[in-house]
């Protein structure tokens, strides 16, 4: 091999290692630096059980929205509807719970049949909760299905348009169904996912380690999606479509089918987020659909190192992105910094993260 070819080979070896370091460790390092800084700045509160559990609880539903958003962004798409689809699923969840409870109570009082469980018995409430959860998941799934079809069947020019439409539709529907006001009061069986805690190693002197159920749900869902993306054929195709849709098509990948699945998953994950959100606030409020959580989700995905151009990013990166945003808000709260400054800080971080992606792409192209 000539010396010129040698240097060319060396360059092609050196470059992926640099990209790999940026891609894998960059965000994790940023999170660690942030946590160390907050530990130093707020030594009494930051690293306490209560504070960490609080952050974990607060970011849980955003984590699920972000995961769905991440899948979509991985295919070089965008889902503007995740926040409002979560809001609509939340309203469906609460509405279904209340309607089922009222309907069953009336029927129970009327029928007078012996041996029926009382409306407020744990068995009935668990059954109602299960029904409501299914309704919420189906709502999210349907919204995702329509998002996918808008892009793959109606051939709307960009997912931006279909999901923008869906965002407005879901917002309107959430307000219509709820009458614009919160539906308050949910059974315990339903709230456990969003508000419950599991104690590890409790003793007589110590309450032990309390982990929010919501956080465990998040970790479990992230693990499943990590396996899906890295270990299955469809997961591989999702990355391929993000990298070069034309190549995927030539290779015989069913591009529309994979895209439909991605948008459906995004909708379902938004609905899972709704279940956690419902438990935390013990009600279904249409405000959740209007709060603009989709922008938080997009921000977390970008901070987590995914590329807006598709094909690049990891599930762990997304979780780290969610945590970085959560800790920045929490840390600035602990330090008594105004909410307005928090937004400016997060804005600056989004821009920085996107700029790092630009640098990374430039390094790969030279």
């Amino acid at each position: 091999m000539s010396s010129a070819a040698d240097t060319a080979a060396k360059r092609s070896v050196a470059r992926p290692s640099l990209t790999a370091v940026l891609e894998r460790l960059g965000v994790i390092l940023a999170l660690m630096v942030l946590m160390i800084a907050l530990t130093i700045l707020s030594p009494d509160y930051f690293l306490t059980q209560a504070n960490l559990a609080n952050v974990a609880n607060r970011v849980a539903f955003i984590a699920l929205l972000s995961l769905g958003e991440f899948l979509v962004i991985l295919t070089a798409g965008i889902d503007l509807s995740v926040g409002s689809v979560m809001g609509l699923s939340l309203i469906m969840l609460a509405k279904c719970t209340h309607s089922a409870f009222d309907g069953y109570s009336a029927w129970y009082a009327q029928s007078g049949m012996a041996g029926l469980p009382a409306p407020d018995s744990p068995l009935t409430l668990a059954a109602i909760s299960l029904l409501a959860i299914i309704v919420a998941l189906v709502t999210g799934w349907l919204c995702g299905l329509l998002n996918g079809w808008g892009f793959t069947r109606l051939r709307l020019p960009h997912p931006f348009i279909m999901t923008l439409g869906m965002m407005n539709i879901a917002r309107g529907a959430a307000n219509l169904i709820s009458g614009g006001s919160p539906i308050t009061g949910l059974p315990k069986a339903l709230r456990v996912f969003g508000a419950g805690q599991i104690r590890f190693f409790p003793s007589t002197t110590n309450a032990g380690l309390r982990i929010p159920v919501a956080f465990i749900v998040v970790l479990a869902v992230y693990l499943v999606l990590w396996i899906y993306l890295t270990q299955t054929q469809t997961g591989r195709h999702i990355y391929a479509i993000g990298g070069n849709p034309q190549a995927a098509r030539y290779a015989g990948v069913n591009v529309s089918g994979v895209l439909n699945r991605v948008y459906m998953l995004s909708g379902i994950l938004a609905a899972v987020g709704a279940i956690l959100y419902a438990g935390r606030i013990n009600s279904g409020t249409p405000k959740a659909a209007l709060a603009g959580y989709e922008l938080d989700a997009i921000a977390a995905v970008i901070i987590g190192g995914a590329s807006f151009f598709g094909g690049r990013g990891t599930v762990t990166g997304t979780l780290v992105g969610v945590l970085i945003m959560g800790f920045i808000r929490n840390g600035l709260n602990l330090l008594n910094v105004s909410v307005f400054w928090q937004e400016i800080a997060i804005g600056a971080i989004i821009v920085t993260a996107a700029f790092i992606d630009v640098l990374r792409r430039r390094a790969a192209r030279v």
Binding site: A5, Q231, R236, A240, G242, Y250, A251, G252
Partner: protein, 260 residues
């Protein structure tokens, strides 16, 4: 008899796009282990003819035979199943994936796990198969774990070719494989094309670079305005003559039986 039968025979292919008659009765024969150069000016019908062979377009008239059997390709998938692979000019590779993932894209090896319900990617088998494939074709890429976007143009071209070979192609069509390459990479790709012969693969090479055509092709076929105007063994022609056929300075040069 069967061994004499060309692997591909296209008979009297016609294809029009509205008023544009892109192909007007073109016939093509490709023998086993042959490298056929397909040349002609822009719009002569080279790419159209190859898209008919790879199933992207359907001919208006004419018949394709594969080892003597008449075939009809409705889509690229049909032709691929029959062992015809096309290496696209714009390189159908996903830069964000590694070499292995690109070679196996759409045909990933999987293993059943968890009670044989779920099938998971068999990363190790694919990496081993890809490494063996690169070794077999003497492709110089140090690791199949490199992302394709970090490879040179020649290496990418090699991956695209290896991809076809991975699916046991019998005919590989290459559209301008050397057009975007640095000079020193061209010879590597040409070596690779010559190497394909040893693997019992026939190649159709479309190129504007006459040096490349004369370096690797056994036979050269010239198209002009949708018609075949030349079909010559390399040993019996030279660059000037082929250029004359392309430009129309010389009318025709076909084997005697086809002139009638």
């Amino acid at each position: 008899m069967a061994s004499q039968e060309p692997i591909v025979r296209m008979e009297d292919i016609h294809k029009s796009f509205g008023p544009v008659r892109a192909l007007q009765g073109v016939s093509l024969q490709l023998q086993r282990r042959e490298v056929l150069g397909l040349v002609g000016d822009n719009g002569a019908g080279k790419s159209t003819l190859m898209k008919v062979l790879s199933g992207v377009y359907q001919a208006d008239q004419g018949q394709i035979y594969l080892q003597g059997q008449p075939v009809r390709f409705q889509s690229p998938r049909d032709s691929r199943t029959a062992g015809i692979e096309m290496v696209y000019q714009d390189l159908a590779l996903a830069g964000n994936l590694d070499v292995t993932a690109n070679i196996f894209l759409g045909q990933e090896s999987t293993r059943k796990r968890l009670g044989r319900i779920f099938s998971f990617l068999d990363h190790q088998k694919m990496a081993e198969d890809a490494t063996r494939l690169l070794e077999r074709l003497r492709i110089d890429i140090r690791s199949v774990k490199y992302h394709v976007e970090n490879l040179s143009g020649g290496q990418r071209q090699a991956v695209a070719i290896a991809r076809c070979m991975g699916f046991s192609a019998r005919v590989v069509i290459m559209d301008e494989p050397t057009a975007a390459l640095a000079v020193k990479e061209v010879s590597k790709v040409l070596d690779l094309i010559r190497g394909l012969k040893q693997h019992d693969v026939a190649v159709i090479l479309i190129s504007h670079r006459m040096q490349d055509i004369f370096e690797v092709c056994d036979r050269i076929m010239v198209l002009r305005q949708g018609r075949k105007v030349g079909d010559l063994p390399r040993s019996e022609t030279d660059m000037d003559r082929v250029v004359a056929l392309i430009t129309g300075a010389q009318e025709k040069a076909l084997p005697e039986k086809e002139v009638a």
